[in-house]
Subunit: 342 residues, 3 copies
Amino acid sequence: MAKTNPGRFFEDYSIGQVLHHAVPRTVTEGERALYHALYPARHALYSSDEFARSCGLPQSPIDDLAAFHVVFGKTVPDVSLNAVANLGYAEGRWLQPVYPGDTLRSESEVIGLKQNSNGKTGVVWVRTRGLNQRDEVVIEYVRWVMVRKSNFDVPAPETVLPDLKKALEPGDLVVPSGLDFSKYDFALAGEPHRWGDYQIGETIDHVDGVTVEEAEHMLATRLWQNTAKVHFDLTFRPDGRLIYGGHVISMARALSFNGLANAQMIVGLNGGAHANPCFAGDTIKAWSEVLDKAETGVPGVGAIRLRLVATKGGEPFALRGADGKYSPDVLLDLDYWALMPI
Amino acid sequence: MAKTNPGRFFEDYSIGQVLHHAVPRTVTEGERALYHALYPARHALYSSDEFARSCGLPQSPIDDLAAFHVVFGKTVPDVSLNAVANLGYAEGRWLQPVYPGDTLRSESEVIGLKQNSNGKTGVVWVRTRGLNQRDEVVIEYVRWVMVRKSNFDVPAPETVLPDLKKALEPGDLVVPSGLDFSKYDFALAGEPHRWGDYQIGETIDHVDGVTVEEAEHMLATRLWQNTAKVHFDLTFRPDGRLIYGGHVISMARALSFNGLANAQMIVGLNGGAHANPCFAGDTIKAWSEVLDKAETGVPGVGAIRLRLVATKGGEPFALRGADGKYSPDVLLDLDYWALMPI
Amino acid sequence: MAKTNPGRFFEDYSIGQVLHHAVPRTVTEGERALYHALYPARHALYSSDEFARSCGLPQSPIDDLAAFHVVFGKTVPDVSLNAVANLGYAEGRWLQPVYPGDTLRSESEVIGLKQNSNGKTGVVWVRTRGLNQRDEVVIEYVRWVMVRKSNFDVPAPETVLPDLKKALEPGDLVVPSGLDFSKYDFALAGEPHRWGDYQIGETIDHVDGVTVEEAEHMLATRLWQNTAKVHFDLTFRPDGRLIYGGHVISMARALSFNGLANAQMIVGLNGGAHANPCFAGDTIKAWSEVLDKAETGVPGVGAIRLRLVATKGGEPFALRGADGKYSPDVLLDLDYWALMPI
């Protein structure tokens, strides 16, 4: 009996199947410190316990994306070990903050299946939930991946395409219990721009850049216990270790502090595409576009919908070529909701 | 008076001498997080406080090898600063888990001496003990190193060869107080294979690989306060900084999760050889062989004796050439006991 | 309205202006562990909570230089984003230890201004204070930087040159409350040399070296939330990312353990020059010179004034050429006071 995990192939998934992912993880102040070493993260709510308390939280949460990466990492052995491509995200929600000492685990439900016409691959949609030690859902999101078939003789399953929202409605967003921006200190946060200062359609070049290194993306990806071979093994991937897409997301989000210092908490992930692969030596820069704004129902807390684009060169604000395809310099096109003092 | 540490030379050791190594170290959740960033560590008992509690422990211990590296690191300035080679390990035992907040220190007793026939070097055997802040021994092991003589005129000491066990007996192994696998969750742990599923002689290719980087091994080696020059100073070692053997051990052990996810706790080190040097750029892979199995006397807790081999290429399961020597691709040949749910 | 931070230019500073720097930071055991991974730090007071308690402190503080880097990092967006050069430090004092859980913020007062004769740049002196969550000053220091003018038409300000001490007097130094070396364990600390064993004028070659890597200095510099582009963006600095001067300071201080293991706490910074730029691939070594010694008024606690020189090659103790300029191999010339058991 082979004892290593071969991963799941397309024919191993069925609608309604629930995958209980392995290896729960306790996140601590160690993970928090490492996040600040790996990314130029400066959002004050995640940097200072005092600042977080002044905003009504008990202490600084673990960065929202760190929590996402931990939840995501657990799904890799069951969902994407044999994936050809990570195709998209939708309906991502942060339902409550994760604090040092919390223990996270993940489970995924198969909600969509579509075999490709070549008969060799198919697309699997899963809704993943991250739960804490009290079995409360802290994060949920849908992602879909293209997965290889192992046995081409297995007939195609009935196609089920999940009905996914193009973007979360403001009413879908959950403001963390107790969050209160009435004593928000803009000087300590680093910028004076409040929710009311941003216009739909406005674009922001975040100016700063980071040239990425092999050691860094591997440290990060291991920290999230993401084990996909392509990120670690140069003999498996002789053209270069592919950098985990989440590393690019976190880098771009951290760079976006410069212009969006008050977009404190990520509460919704509407969609995202890893437009081109990222390799060590690339210099990641970022720009944002304000896609929408909404009130949250909580006094003083506004929601801002942002496109976050990571690039490895080229001019800011150039997303697609004349052919409608992503420019070769674009690494990431992410669509998310964040909370900001009004 | 020269104030820097010249290290000890062969003639500075005598049988029965006890070396009290310097710089005690408090290990915390920071070290725990770094361990997970440096190695693809996924054994659930060390990843989740909740999982550890479900196994009868108060929380996740610091990884057994991290504790070993801290204890080992302290011995370097007194034992191996002038070492030509690290020759072997024996009779290593983990006597109790190390938890975040514990403070470790080390002491070593010289138990063997043998001058080499060239008169310029000799072999020193030490039994090292790692103690916590309550002066309880948490780890003990024997290692022997070849050390240079400084003054060739000093006569050779009487040869004393310690009587070392080829392998620990099952009765030598200490099961941590309270350890209880009766509620062990195999799904959360990541694999269904229990102690009874492994056969003596069985081999497991752990499949995954990690291409190692300079920054990573230096971060690790410094974290354990191991100061041997060869790991850090390229001007001292122009052919390449030699990667600390413990880095290879930890990498291989972490990779062995894939196939040995339930070999949770390391309790015995029977022996080990760093067969060939490891350098940045090498891709470390690992395979294991089941050497023995034993009951521990604690219901539900089995002991499994494993050979863990780290390679930098080549085929799995090829250990030695026709000449009986280690294959040039073999980095590590380690023999240890681990605890597993029966 | 542009939302990113353009930084301040020379004409934006005025005498008496107080800059409240953004993004407070809670430092934890995670930062402490990372400090030990990034630098070969072994001073026992910072390594072991038990050792710190035996010296009268409640637990190990965060390394004095880590605290300095956090305080310094906050000033970068307001002080040195448009700096041409970091010219010097003076009157640096550590007023109380920083412990895991403390939250630091920084503020700077402009105390000196002098436009250069070219009309395009000027020198700004600021006195920076790092405060904890109780609004107690934990660190203060003066630094001066050369900053670009943006609008050359703005007239030069009146020149104000602050009156700075060449070196702190012993009476300026603050011994942490409760510090008591009467039970100091020299064996655990790693060296027998006490304050009385050092002579003014004595020089010490610290022997060890570390070849530095891109990933490491970027991890460190991000950890201190220092965002200066030159450290991260190879497209901005095609000749190589300039390593943050504080990384060199910490590396050299850690290397100085070998010969100065009992120079436990840094309490004063008299001055410092980053003599030449440091790049990845350089091998940092260090030597020290005893500049002065003084009693502190606290029984058993002596102060030692040290020159700490970091080099990237060359012979120890060679500081300047015949022309009086720093040798091209010298990276750092730092002048500080430390506390030592008498």
